[in-house]
Symmetry: C2
Subunit: 352 residues, 2 copies
């Protein structure tokens, strides 16, 4: 049996779960590397994947005997089969943060389970801690992102639109990686005050400020980086804001390590921003892996600590509606003794 | 108030719902054109959108007074506010097919609602019937798809990989549309037997069969088209399969109109395939609009009829594992008297 499913079985046993229904496709991909539509059942003795005719051939082609996963075509599963899967299970876990209320009722009806139990994101919590192969994939995605940023810096010229820059980034990623990990943000001038701006037809002008938030995937794993750059020169009124964001981004990097309180990390940035009459209006960062946003979320509501082999972003930002915004973001690997910055592009004033 | 919210209020009133919580972002976009993260509350007297600091500025910028939507920053909403929103409401609807079990429990706790009622996809059902503007957007997305297909036919050459072809399509769409409506499928040789194949590094060879499934978005609305094409010539053993798929695709087009039974449409294709010892292993088609797959689903399980101004696909396919597959798909508009094919690319043998 593969190591990740073995880990899950051990965890289930410690929680007194005799079975589990896994329906979140990202969790299934994590446990089995199957990237399709279907559900994974961990029963007392078997691992069962139920899918449909569109995916049977693909799924059979990627599984090996060592995976110990039995594949069913959903059209071959009878209502008796459903009732038998968890027959001698007292407690069966389900993913209450993924399963809809309607699906929950369907599971109850179909599987005839005694006790359908919430599992409080056990798999998502495990996914936050990356193994060596996952870390290598994220590192490669980050390297490609640094290369893409160097490339794009040479190509941005006044007269181009935000959309054109976003497309150049996308085309670079399409050639060098497995594609975007999220829709690229290119926000210039006053648009840069919107943290989640969508690229527009706004034309880049001399003296513009441009925030670029970009990332790609490599073997399914994400990278994420933001830089705020300048055309021609850095306006004097922007400098104090840029310097404050950069200072806090760097201080956070210095603090990030195994055991560090996530709430405290966030509070430090919030306090320093408030001291200067600004607000931190979004999270300080987030975990990333198979998904661009995953556990741990780096904000003041999270009372956990960072742990070794988590991969997270560090991305403070200040946004002045109608004026401009500054965000600086790196993807970093947490170790026992500090963090390793995986996105290595320049962070001092970048002037094109 | 905008027409779509007015329609929703009338429908709610006929279902004895005094309030509704809408959290599916696609439904919120449909009702309000807001494309952000947040929830829409339809209360007795008000329409309320609750979002967070990242989106406040954007949301304010796209709403007008006529929308009659009050926007709250989630950090300004107290627990008393939550309890007051639905204070005099006996029944409040929620989206049981979108809301997770965990969220359902949170809503119960937070809003203190007497009766949180399943709404059986009322908005999704309405979305299946397109208005004039929606139809125009889909038509434009289909026109761009036809253009892209003509373009790609001129560029595919033996020696290119599936991935390279998929990238050419994506780059075309990025220039001419609002981007892909789904990940392009380019499946050549034996890969074409996988209905949902992901483009690989397989090199296109002489005598290859290639299935291309492609679509883009225009103003948020999707197109979807598949063609199966040939390099050099059509192998004799493929011809009977291709002809059978095409015959059924055309017959379905002839049958599709307001009032037509969806089950019967599907059964006709299934029966003709079985007569020739093949199976229809996926749905015959699906609705599309803001999402690439939406109501109505065209399969034998659906006992509804097609209705005027639905937009659906017609996409029979036959797949022979390890050998090859053929799928032919158009996007069509249902009218009272027949259907209008919106993707107009050639369907007879296409040889490059």
């Amino acid at each position: 049996m593969n190591q990740k499913i073995q880990w899950l079985r051990n965890t289930m046993s410690s929680l007194d779960l005799q079975g589990m229904i896994i329906s979140n496709p990202i969790n299934i991909k994590y446990l089995t590397s199957i990237d399709a539509e279907g559900i994974l059942l961990i029963t007392r003795k078997e691992n069962i994947y139920i899918t449909d005719g569109r995916y049977i051939e693909y799924v059979q082609s990627i599984l090996t005997i060592e995976d110990e996963i039995i594949v069913y075509n959903i059209t071959d599963v009878s209502s008796d089969d459903y009732e038998n899967f968890f027959m001698f299970c007292e407690n069966v876990g389900f993913e209450e943060n993924h399963v809809t209320y309607a699906k929950y009722k369907e599971y109850m009806h179909k599987f005839k389970i005694n006790n359908l139990v919430e599992t409080e994101n056990i798999i998502e919590k495990q996914r936050a801690i990356k193994d060596d192969e996952e870390i290598k994939n994220i590192m490669t995605a980050c390297e490609i992102t640094d290369e893409c940023f160097s490339y794009i810096l040479k190509h941005i010229k006044p007269g181009m639109t935000e959309k054109q820059i976003a497309r150049e980034i996308e085309e670079f990623y399409n050639k060098k990686s497995d594609g975007l990990s999220f829709d690229t943000i290119v926000a210039s001038g006053e648009n840069s005050s919107k943290p989640h701006a969508i690229p527009t037809d706004r034309v880049i002008q001399k003296q513009d400020i441009i925030t670029i938030d970009m990332g790609c995937k490599y073997k399914g794993y994400c990278s994420d980086m933001t830089r705020t750059i300048f055309v021609g020169s850095v306006p004097e009124y922007v400098k104090p804001v840029y310097n404050l964001v950069l200072k806090n981004q760097m201080q956070t990097l210095d603090q990030m390590k195994d055991g560090e309180s996530i709430r405290l990390l966030t509070k430090m940035v919030e306090n320093d921003f408030r001291l200067h009459n600004f607000d931190l209006i979004h999270s300080l960062g987030h975990g990333l892996g198979l998904e661009i946003h995953e556990k741990p979320y780096i904000n003041y509501k999270n009372d956990n600590t960072l742990k070794e082999n988590m991969v997270v972003t560090d991305e403070p930002g200040i946004y002045l509606p109608g004026k401009f915004g500054v965000r600086i973001e790196d993807t970093v690997l947490i170790t026992k003794f500090g963090c390793i910055n995986l996105t290595k592009s320049e962070k001092n004033y970048i002037i094109i």
